[in-house]
């Protein structure tokens, strides 16, 4: 059974800002069909670097759709500097929380936003920098380190909930554990 808040359900059933955005001047994409969820975020940004409109198209479960919907609601009206500070926790909080195993849906929203802002500013984000740890979901050590630090993750389960890493064949769980340990060791 779904352990979703009423707000998640409501945003899934009546998503805000769904669809492509005509005249968008920034786009950010994360996820893939194979991984089971994907989000394409469209932004319209004015000359003062303010987000005047935001829409999305999303493939995924109810919490992926709700996270996308929440993200667009949160960032509309923000300047890019403000928007760049939006985290996955903000998305989750907006929805009254997400089930632990679905935190990766909010992480996906944050990732798409980061990419859209970089797209607008003409910054090239290096695709998947670092060493590949999880082959099933294509997650690198640098992404794991970032998520562990930002969210205070402690176990491999936490990492799987946030990044999906380790949630496929499970062969990389030892390596994920080693990455977590290395972050802890560095304090």
């Amino acid at each position: 059974m779904w352990d979703y808040t009423d707000k998640v359900k409501e945003h899934f059933l009546n998503p805000r800002n769904g669809g492509e955005l005509e005249g968008a001047n920034a786009v950010g994409e994360t996820g893939s069909l194979n991984c089971g969820d994907a989000l394409k975020l469209y932004l319209k940004i004015n000359e003062n670097e303010r987000i005047i409109d935001a829409t999305f198209i999303t493939f995924g479960c109810a919490s992926a759709v709700a996270s996308s919907s929440a993200l667009t609601e949160i960032i509309k009206g923000m300047t890019l500097d403000e928007a760049s500070k939006v985290t996955n926790d903000d998305i989750s909080d907006y929805l009254g929380g997400l089930p632990k195993a679905k935190m990766h849906c909010s992480v996906m929203g944050q990732g798409a936003l980061k990419k859209a802002i970089a797209d607008y500013r003409g910054i090239q984000i290096l695709e998947k920098p670092g060493e590949l740890i999880c082959e099933c979901f294509e997650v690198t050590d640098l992404e794991i380190i970032e998520a562990v630090k930002a969210n205070g993750l402690e176990t491999t389960d936490d990492v799987t909930n946030y990044l999906k890493a380790g949630g496929g064949c499970g062969q990389c769980l030892d390596r994920i554990e080693a990455v977590i340990e290395s972050v802890k060791a560095k304090g």
Partner: protein
């Protein structure tokens, strides 16, 4: 509209007749069937009747029926009994689309007890690679365990032929018939299986009761060691109420088997064909012919299963999905992956499993709900545009 229940491969409604049969034994008739007094003895008499009814469903003899607590216990009991009977044989065979009750047990035996395991693969329609199966049978094989029918796709394995081959080679053959019982005709006198598992709650009996059929002559060792119950083959005081209920359910299942293969099959086909026709980018998972009459698994391109289920749930429709988000893991079900169902439809696979309680009106309600639900999800999917996959 009341709940439309099309998740009968997960569990079934306990039949009214079954509840009626059980009720006195919840209350005043609480005696222990092992007792010497008449009060307990009348419960024992009812269990004798139930055992006969269960045996009749599969044309077994009553003494070949052992009551267990569930399908999983039946499966575990069968495999452990086999490896105990043939301690020198260190090879076991199964398929790669089995229920976890077999799959995980086999993996454990492989890892912890050094068994060599052959997981026979299936093709894209879920059909077993029979050549590989027959080639892997050897004098070192302790047991072959294969499901009669698959829970997710309903694909039926050629159990009669496999049983014949296993017998020719003198190898013990167990089949998990949890999904097949009550849906296909099972005759253990015709089909020569050594052991066969069934579960009560898949055939309108309550949860917590299972059956293991053990062919006469096999030296069976109990899984649960205890008292003399079940002739020493399964210790523990009998779950009298559920056994009595299961007996009734088996009697009813025998009567409704023809309905399953006519009315229920027609309803399933109607639902399937309407959905395929009205929803582009949809396809059936599994073989269309060798399939249970009540089951259809359909993959919808470019949408995700959990989202579909939630939209169905909103209209009080119960179904299930093989998608990652509903399987408890992050990957689609091992059955769909074993069939190499492409990701584009595996993530959006929905299983409808019917019973004789379903109606055409309910099928129409599902169709009327699902067609716009898929449209809605595709309208916001990045992989669907202008009526097709991108």
């Amino acid at each position: 509209m009341k709940t439309v229940y099309t998740d009968n491969n997960a569990t079934t409604k306990v039949a009214d007749e079954v509840i009626e049969e059980m009720l006195p034994y919840f209350g005043e008739l609480y005696g222990n069937p092992s007792s010497m007094h008449t009060f307990g003895g009348q419960v024992d008499a009812k269990i004798v009747e139930a055992r006969q009814r269960v045996a009749d469903l599969i044309n077994a003899d009553p003494e070949e029926i052992i009551f267990t607590s569930c399908g999983t216990e039946s499966d575990n009991s069968a495999i452990y009994a086999a490896i105990k009977a043939y301690p020198e044989k260190k090879h076991i065979i199964t398929s790669n689309v089995e229920h976890p009750a077999i799959n995980n047990l086999y993996k454990q035996l492989q890892g912890q007890q050094g068994y060599e395991v052959t997981f026979v693969p299936v093709d894209e329609k879920g059909r077993l690679d029979l050549d590989l199966l027959y080639k892997s049978m050897s004098g070192n094989t302790a047991i072959i365990s294969l499901m009669w029918a698959n829970n997710e796709t309903g694909v039926v394995f050629p159990i009669e032929e496999i049983a014949r081959k296993a017998n020719e080679k003198g190898i013990l053959f167990h089949t998990d018939a949890v999904q097949a019982a009550g849906k296909v005709d099972i005759d253990v006198k015709k089909i020569n299986v050594g052991m066969l598992s069934m579960s009560g709650h898949k055939i309108h009996a309550p949860k917590g009761i299972g059956v293991l059929y053990v062919k006469k002559g096999f030296k069976f060792s109990p899984f649960l060691v205890g008292g003399h119950q079940e002739k020493g083959r399964r210790g523990g005081t009998e779950n009298t109420v559920s056994i009595i209920g299961l007996g009734k359910a088996c009697q009813l299942a025998k009567e409704t088997l023809p309905v399953m293969n006519t009315i229920v099959r027609e309803l399933r086909d109607y639902l399937q064909n309407e959905l395929l026709e009205k929803i582009p980018g949809s396809s059936v998972n599994g073989d269309l012919e060798q399939r249970l009459p009540n089951t259809v698994s359909i993959g919808f391109d470019a949408v995700e299963g959990e989202s579909i289920l939630l939209l169905l749930d909103k209209e009080d429709i119960c179904a299930s999905s093989g998608s990652a988000c509903t399987s408890g893991s992050l990957e689609p079900s091992h059955v769909l992956m074993a069939m190499k169902v492409p990701f584009k439809s595996a993530h959006g696979s929905i299983r409808f499993s019917l019973s004789h309680y379903n109606t055409k009106q309910e099928m129409d309600h599902i169709i009327a709900t699902l067609v716009p639900a898929i449209e809605k999800l595709r309208a916001m999917s990045p992989f669907w545009k202008d009526g097709k996959m991108i």
